[in-house]
């Protein structure tokens, strides 16, 4: 029930956003289509399976400016969260006995989202924005111990509200830096290790290029 409510809310926000953008009468932006790559740092919020900050992440995205205020786009992002657990003894689940091993818990997330952004200022060097990204997330839950590996693969729905700023770094406005902070909620669950969903805060920094050629 909670998931359905979140989904409905997200769809409503996107529809309102698109409605707003279609009726915009603001001046059109000259450079419309940007491609970007960037680096992501993720702090997981709600699980002890991998609760360490993940420094292995990145994203690629394409952003289309409808006008100076609104943009839409596609984003693919990924991150790996790792946690080392020193040697520990565990009771066997299905027979009498115990097992001692050290292990790595690993969560690898790959999210594919469509996003919309509202940019507060136009024609300035800094253009702060708020946005919402919605899409699908694939998660690989893995446990590495000794020479063995357990793996489970799950798909889920992901919603990601974000705040950030675009920083124009070229005179022709064809190259931007972009920095943003987002909260991510994904429905990917793995009951075997007690994960009902995946939540995290992500800081990302990247660079955008406009590749349109003018004659």
């Amino acid at each position: 029930m909670k998931k359905i409510s979140l989904f409905n809310l997200s769809v409503a926000i996107v529809l309102l956003f698109l409605l707003g953008s279609s009726s915009s009468v603001l001046a059109q932006q000259e450079n419309k289509l940007f491609f970007g790559v960037g680096y992501n740092i993720t702090q997981p919020l709600n699980n002890s399976f991998t609760d360490k900050t993940g420094f292995y992440g990145g994203h690629v995205e394409a952003e289309y400016y409808i006008d100076n205020t609104y943009s839409v786009g596609f984003n693919a992002s990924w991150n790996t969260l790792l946690k080392y657990i020193p040697p520990k003894t565990y009771p066997l689940q299905y027979e009498a006995g115990d097992i001692t091993t050290d292990m790595y818990n690993s969560v690898y997330n790959m999210a594919y989202t469509l996003f919309g952004r509202y940019h507060f200022k136009q024609n300035d060097r800094f253009k702060p924005f708020v946005g919402l990204a919605l899409g699908a997330q694939n998660t690989e839950f893995e446990e590495y111990y000794s020479i063995y590996q357990d793996r489970q693969n799950k798909w889920g729905f992901v919603a990601r509200p974000e705040v950030g700023t675009v920083i124009c770094i070229s005179k022709n406005k064809k190259t931007n830096l972009i920095a943003a902070l987002d909260y991510s909620y994904a429905t990917n669950a793995n009951k075997a290790i007690g994960i009902n969903n995946i939540q995290g805060v992500e800081f990302k920094i990247g660079i955008q290029f406009n590749l349109e050629r003018r004659y």
């Binding site: 066997l92 027979e95 009498a96 097992i99 111990y145 000794s146 020479i147």
Partner: protein, 206 residues
């Protein structure tokens, strides 16, 4: 257009960035699994016997025993732990209550694959069983997988006549990325034997 291709190359490079754990760190500790017969009364056994060699099972050689300085150290480590559990070592001819059996398994398999797009071998991340020493020639890569394990079994001789069979009342399986060739791995094995007894507090007598 040049910019675009640079960007595309960057994207492809970044897309391959799934971070693997530090496998070398995992290699420094062996996995120790123990199991026991819940009906066995461990305190009723007093004596045991152990062979002075280790059974050796491998697809590399027909030799079926392991007897050298390393195997002696492993057997001595077991004797020490059995003594700490208050079991007395006697000769097989003196009819011990228990027999301790040690087996070392080492199987090696090789696989050859070809991938023209990967000149460096990146197969470390795709293993599930065994560990490997990958090497490559151009797009060809040869992976060597080793399955190694040290098995320890404690067998009930005391009740063998009554039960009409030899019951294994305790066993330990030690697995990991190890061989029987270096002092470092020997130290890991000896540490793992200690762990197997430490996690089996019921394995003792008065």
């Amino acid at each position: 257009m040049k910019q675009f291709f640079l960007l595309l190359a960057g994207v492809l490079l970044l897309l391959s960035c799934k971070k693997d754990p530090d496998f070398n760190k995992l290699d420094t500790n062996l996995l120790v699994q123990t199991g026991y017969d819940t009906t066995a009364a461990f305190s009723t056994y007093k004596t045991y016997a152990i062979s002075d060699t280790i059974n050796f099972v491998s697809n590399l050689t027909s030799q079926n025993y392991w007897a050298d300085n390393q195997s002696t150290k492993i057997i001595n480590q077991l004797k020490t732990n059995m003594a700490n559990s208050h079991y007395s070592l006697i000769k097989k001819a003196d009819k011990p209550d228990l027999a301790v059996n040690i087996t070392f398994i080492k199987n090696v398999q090789q696989s050859i694959s070809y991938d023209p797009f990967w000149y460096d071998n990146l197969y470390y991340g795709s293993m599930y069983w065994g560990y490997s020493y990958p090497y490559s020639y151009g797009g060809f890569s040869v992976s060597e997988y080793k399955n190694t394990a040290l098995l320890i079994e404690v067998i009930d001789l005391k009740n063998a006549q009554t039960a009409q069979k030899l019951n294994v009342i305790w066993n330990a399986t030690i697995t990991g990325a190890f061989d029987k060739s270096t002092e470092e791995t020997l130290a890991m094995i000896l540490r793992a034997i200690d762990t197997s007894f430490k996690q089996s507090s019921y394995l003792k007598t008065n």
